[in-house]
């Protein structure tokens, strides 16, 4: 039987998958960026390799089509932004889980699952706040 708890739990799994995908996409973009930088260095030694990589990079939107010379992009803000974005999804997830936990608190009384969820909730928000604070503090 499909209950409200089951639906919310399913949604939390979906949000988890979204958060993981965002982190993977961010890491992928970073790898492409690093590859591009390596290409710039390598192309000085092997000019022929530049052409194929350039076409590939344009295809995956790492290089914009209209600019020939782009300003250097820092890697840390991209990674931190991706991480914060994924953490925001995890925040939404934690809030959803807490709704379930509090409902069960009134029905069944306190159980170890409640403490686990509270620890998860506090942990997620602590990481989120620290990351956000660090980005703002060091102006990344």
């Amino acid at each position: 039987m499909i209950t409200l708890e089951a639906i919310v739990l399913f949604l939390t799994y979906v949000i988890d998958v979204i958060a993981i995908s965002i982190i993977l996409i961010t890491i992928g973009q970073l790898l492409l960026l690093l590859l591009r930088r390596a290409l710039v260095v390598d192309s000085k030694k092997f000019p022929a390799s530049k052409f194929f990589f350039h076409i590939f990079m344009k295809h995956v939107n790492v290089i914009s089509n209209d600019s020939t010379r782009e300003p250097k992009i820092s890697i840390i803000p991209i990674l931190a932004n991706g991480l914060l974005f994924a953490l925001e999804f995890e925040c939404a997830n934690a809030v959803l889980r807490l709704i379930l936990v509090i409902s069960s608190l009134f029905r069944e009384g306190p159980n170890p699952d409640i403490y686990n969820t509270i620890i998860f909730f506090v942990g997620i928000f602590a990481i989120r706040m620290i990351t956000s604070f660090t980005i703002k503090k060091f102006d990344l």
Partner: protein
């Protein structure tokens, strides 16, 4: 003459029923706000993937804060729901847990609103 209303009408049961109903409604509302915010953030994220990486960083920040606003709204609903739930607390342990959760939520709400204010001042 004192009239014993509790014996005639199950006031406690009626009150408990309505509190359950109202808090359940508020919980559903909060969950819906979160789910809608998540879906909108996901759609926006997929849209900005076409842009160059430098533009994506700025756009991601805007989407993230929009999602944070959604979470903030849901948290406000949840704090309201928790306050109503305190009317039918079964024991001191549950009250303590609820107190901790409400405190965490209030701290989170405060932090999120500060972050949104800071972002608004910057833009």
């Amino acid at each position: 003459m004192i009239l014993d209303l509790n014996g005639l009408i199950p006031i406690e049961a009626i009150r408990s029923y309505y509190i359950d109903l109202i808090t359940f409604g508020i919980d559903i509302l909060a969950a819906s706000v979160i789910i809608i915010s998540v879906i909108m953030a996901l759609i926006s994220f997929l849209k900005i993937l076409k842009n160059p990486i430098k533009d994506q960083t700025m756009d991601k920040e805007s989407i993230r804060l929009r999602l944070a606003r959604g979470i903030l709204l849901a948290l406000d609903f949840e704090i309201g729901s928790d306050i109503i739930k305190t009317m039918q607390i079964p024991g001191i342990k549950e009250l303590l847990i609820l107190g901790v959760i409400v405190t965490i939520r209030i701290v989170l709400s405060w932090s999120l609103s500060k972050e949104i204010d800071r972002h608004n001042k910057m833009t």
